[in-house]
């Protein structure tokens, strides 16, 4: 189908300013392919079905809107965890602040380095899941990421890796515009926990491709940083082989615009995929969008989507979640819940839950709710002496608890819980 003229012109104009990262390597071919994909589909506009609730304009404009730096005085997240920390400052890898790119049962490189070398598993993965994830719904900003990302982290787990890898995204320049592309390959029976924290830039685009072999496990916990004016578009593409496990949780505070897309392809039998998110937004500038697509293409797959949003003072939350069960994916167990707690009448939650099922022996359910604080519970707490603000906060945290419960590691979950308490206290 031919692109609308306007869209094509806009896309060409935007791409004209882009130079792909240099060097005659395998990466150059992958980037050109991505650019070609992007040119064919065009950059998104609000007319596109999956951008109706979120305006992509500020994610696309050539000059990223600046974002003031913000220090809430809290210590860096997960600093006490025994981990491999890899630090990017406004997209530039900071070797001095980072741990060695090494660990037991793990192979770690920078994308900037592997692009020059023939590391076949990285080469096979780069842009591959992203490209496959363009159907049936186009994700042009992911293709843009693949085309222009010059750095990121590339990880291969060959055993059960004990130490989490922590990607720390620091934001120190008000005008930074950053694109990072990360790859994770979990070999059969291996496992890895990946942590990602921080705003990373005034405008950050990350793309994560995760390939999990048989019985591999991948755990992903992310906190997107509390800078008020930051923008982010993130993509995660995961491919699951038999009996593998994928679990991802994202906590979002503040920021003017966040679009998190997660695309999961369950290709092997008996795989498990959980995607969860908790977001808290305050003010008319806050817009947070979770867009999830889970495809069941194998037997007995189990998938869960659990998303909770707390919105106040005109904040906007969006959830677009789909479960697609292909023909033959019998005994699929698919679950999806998206809920918002609106703390006032100005805030808004827009949800588009979808089920598309072509197998006859499956159990799939989805639900979406929007509600206010339960006045009866609020009075009950106050009648026991809990002050109004504390009672509201307790009920707000209890609303988010179901999403946080998706995090398996108790210590990490508690650390995020403490951050939420801090956020609520700052806003009291």
């Amino acid at each position: 189908m031919a692109l609308a003229k306007l869209k094509q012109d806009a896309t060409l104009a935007r791409l004209a300013g882009i130079t792909l990262p240099e060097g005659a390597t395998w990466a150059t071919a992958a980037r050109s392919d991505a650019l070609a994909r992007l040119s064919a589909m065009g950059l998104p506009t609000r007319r596109d079905e999956y951008w109706r609730y979120t305006d992509p304009a500020s994610l696309i404009v050539a000059d990223a809107p600046p974002a003031a730096l913000f220090d809430n005085g809290e210590a860096p997240l997960f600093a006490g965890v025994d981990r491999i920390a890899l630090v990017f400052v406004d997209g530039v890898f900071d070797a001095a602040q980072s741990d060695d790119l090494a660990g037991a049962g793990i192979e770690i490189h920078r994308l900037a380095d592997v692009a020059q070398r023939d590391i076949h598993w990285a080469k096979d993965l780069y842009g591959t899941l992203e490209s496959r994830g363009q159907h049936p719904v186009e994700r042009p900003l992911a293709a843009l990421n693949t085309a222009i990302a010059s750095d990121g982290i590339v990880i291969r787990a060959t055993a059960k890796v004990q130490k989490p890898v922590h990607l720390v995204y620091l934001h120190q320049s008000e005008t930074s515009d950053v694109t990072l592309h990360n790859l994770v390959r979990i070999e059969a029976g291996a496992s890895l926990t990946l942590l990602e924290t921080g705003p990373g830039a005034a405008r950050l685009s990350t793309c994560l491709e995760v390939d999990i072999a048989d019985a591999g496990q991948f755990h992903h916990i992310r906190a997107q940083g509390s800078d008020h004016e930051r923008r982010a578009v993130t993509h995660c593409f995961a491919q699951l082989a038999a009996e593998s496990v994928f679990k991802s949780f994202t906590l979002t505070f503040n920021g003017v615009l966040t679009r998190n897309e997660c695309v999961i392809d369950m290709r092997g039998d008996d795989a498990v995929a959980h995607v969860a998110g908790a977001c808290v937004g305050d003010g008319g500038d806050f817009h947070h969008d979770d867009t999830v697509f889970v495809t069941h293409d194998a037997l007995r797959g189990e998938s869960r989507q659990v998303f909770k949003k707390v919105l106040r003072n005109g904040a906007v939350g969006v959830f677009q979640g789909k479960i697609l069960v292909k023909q033959g994916a019998q005994k699929t167990d698919g679950y999806q819940i998206s809920q918002s707690l609106l703390l006032d009448d100005d805030s808004q939650f827009l949800a588009k839950p979808e089920l598309e099922i072509y197998a006859d022996d499956v159990a799939c359910s989805h639900g979406s709710t929007t509600g206010a604080i339960d006045e009866t519970a609020l009075f009950y707490l106050r009648s026991r002496g809990v002050p109004m603000e504390a009672a509201r906060n307790l009920l707000t945290l209890s609303f988010l608890a179901e999403a946080l419960a998706e995090i398996e590691d108790q210590a990490l979950a508690e650390e995020l819980q403490t951050r939420l308490e801090g956020w609520l206290a700052r806003r009291a």
Partner: protein, 252 residues
């Protein structure tokens, strides 16, 4: 302790519905008063108005706790001042653990009164001992507040909260409903253990049986928003035997 004088209250949303129509009641320190009365006569409304629930407007009269105007205070301030209501229908709060809830409440009240907060260890010790008396097991303490509790378990949980908060003025709204015979005994023992010369009780009930266990000093009959008759424990027996017809006819 509690002085209620000529209290009038109507629905906030509908001024045509007046529920309390001139209620007067005086409870001295250490006393136990019982209120009985037909369904819909305003017993729960009285407990809500005293504890500060939204939805009611007081149009006349007063309610003072130890000389302080209750009606001017927020619900949490009333609690810190020593008022406690055991709800007729305790509220379920998914996602908030019973222990977290109890500790938050205990420490919030201590803080409001300028007292030191209870340490985690001391708190735990105290809850465990009191829960044991009420036969509330460790599992119930861990679960979200009242979620999945049976009717009787919810009522026992109310009494546990009361025991932890050590209020001065305790209002029990039909705490006996939904309790089996043994649980009623447990709850009554819990209440009696708290009886002291500095603590008063207002026990709302439909049945004489609870009053066999918690012996009241005074019994009042509330009908159509007013106390129409007061007496000693024998009044409860009269209601048990004859119903309200005679009393209502006598008051008319």
């Amino acid at each position: 302790m509690l002085e209620i004088n000529n209290l009038h209250a109507e629905l906030e949303t509908d001024a045509d519905v007046t529920i309390l129509k001139g209620l007067t009641l005086s409870i001295k320190p250490g006393e136990v008063h019982a209120i009985m009365g037909p369904n819909g006569s305003g017993k729960s409304t009285l407990s809500y108005v005293l504890s500060g629930k939204d939805g009611y407007s007081v149009t006349a009269g007063s309610a003072m706790l130890e000389g302080v105007d209750l009606l001017e205070m927020e619900p949490e301030e009333r609690a810190a001042a020593g008022l406690f209501l055991a709800f007729q229908y305790p509220v379920e709060i998914p996602g908030v653990g019973n222990m977290t809830f109890l500790r938050t409440a205990v420490n919030a009240q201590r803080k409001a009164r300028g007292e030191e907060e209870l340490s985690a260890g001391d708190f735990l010790k105290e809850v465990r001992a009191k829960a044991k008396d009420l036969q509330i097991d460790a599992d119930m303490l861990k679960r979200p507040v009242n979620v999945g509790f049976s009717g009787g378990e919810k009522k026992r949980n109310e009494i546990l909260q009361m025991a932890m908060l050590e209020p001065k003025m305790c209002i029990l709204d039909e705490t006996d409903s939904g309790l089996d015979v043994d649980a009623m005994k447990l709850v009554a023992d819990g209440v009696n253990a708290l009886r002291s010369e500095n603590r008063s009780f207002l026990v709302i009930t439909h049945y004489q049986r609870l009053l066999d266990h918690i012996k009241p000093d005074f019994v009042h009959i509330l009908a159509d928003g007013k106390i129409i008759k007061s007496g000693g424990p024998e009044l409860a027996l009269e209601v048990e035997n004859n119903g309200y017809a005679d009393i209502l006819a006598g008051a008319a």
